[in-house]
Amino acid sequence: MNIFNRIVVIAGSICLVMGSSSLFLITIGMVDPQEWFPAPWHEVLIPFTQLDPSRGWSVVGICLGGLIVGALLSFLELRPHSTKVPALVVEKDDLGHITASMTSIQDLVNREAENIEGVRESQTHVQNSSRGIHLQCRLSVTPHSNAAQLGQQVQKRIKAAVEHFLGKPVLGINLQTQIAPLTKHTKGIQSRVH
């Protein structure tokens, strides 16, 4: 969301909180509209002080709803948003840490896989643990390729490349191969090597 939209949402939610709380206090009789609001407004608000109990409770309910929604929107928009890029810790020692962005590792794996004959496209998801890296790769392969052989070749190449370039052990590579071009669908990845 851009800055202008955020300002609009913040201003709107603050108005909602102020309007709901004012109406709530008027309806339950804690605030007199004639004392608190200027000329055109108190005439509009006076009827809320004379509501019958059933309608009064409905207005109170709506006001509380508005108050909660407004407060929630304000909180969500005002809390600081993290701009940090997801990253993998390559090394951590007394002098600090070395991190590599997840996208750079995904690109590295995809490039390595796509360099193998028979692989048309690759999509990778990287998971990091304290012991090493897990990779989940989806490959689009050519129709005449042998998926089993190609899979083994891809696993060997990716494992060697990641371990060499990152210096971290690869604990598992899960591959899913298909002939159709890749889509964003990630369901049904099956483990082949651990």
């Binding site: 090394e91 600090g96 070395i98 962005s101 750079s104 370039f165 990152l166 210096g167």
Partner: protein
């Protein structure tokens, strides 16, 4: 008796770090919108380098774009960057260096 140190301006340190890092083949420091980090002062900004002083010691954060060949690796090139940064800062000041954190934003492969 407390040792008196000449505190070097953070801009000087950031620029020195940037120059020393980019002199290593295969290392770039991002600029403008590619960088998440910067050291900022009135009328100036050094992209990709963060210099902070915490409890009398220096913390350095560096963003990198790394081009690797078949022989190099991220740990080896990172060690080289840290060595170079440490040496270049020590040539400027005797302040203690606490951390040199590296954030690799992109990895490129050279055939």
């Amino acid at each position: 008796m407390a040792k008196l140190l000449d505190l070097i301006d953070e801009r000087v340190i950031a620029e020195k770090v940037r120059t020393s890092v980019t002199s290593i083949p295969g290392i770039e420091v991002p600029v403008d919108q590619d960088a998440d980090l910067s050291t900022v002062g009135p009328g100036w900004r050094v992209w990709g380098i963060g210099v902070h002083r915490v409890a009398g010691s220096l913390n350095i954060e560096i963003e990198l774009i790394v081009t690797l060949n078949k022989k190099s690796s991220i740990p080896s090139i990172s060690a080289r960057v840290r060595r170079k940064v440490r040496t270049s800062i020590q040539s400027l000041t005797s302040e203690q260096i606490r951390w040199i954190n590296l954030q690799i934003l992109d990895v490129r492969l050279k055939d």
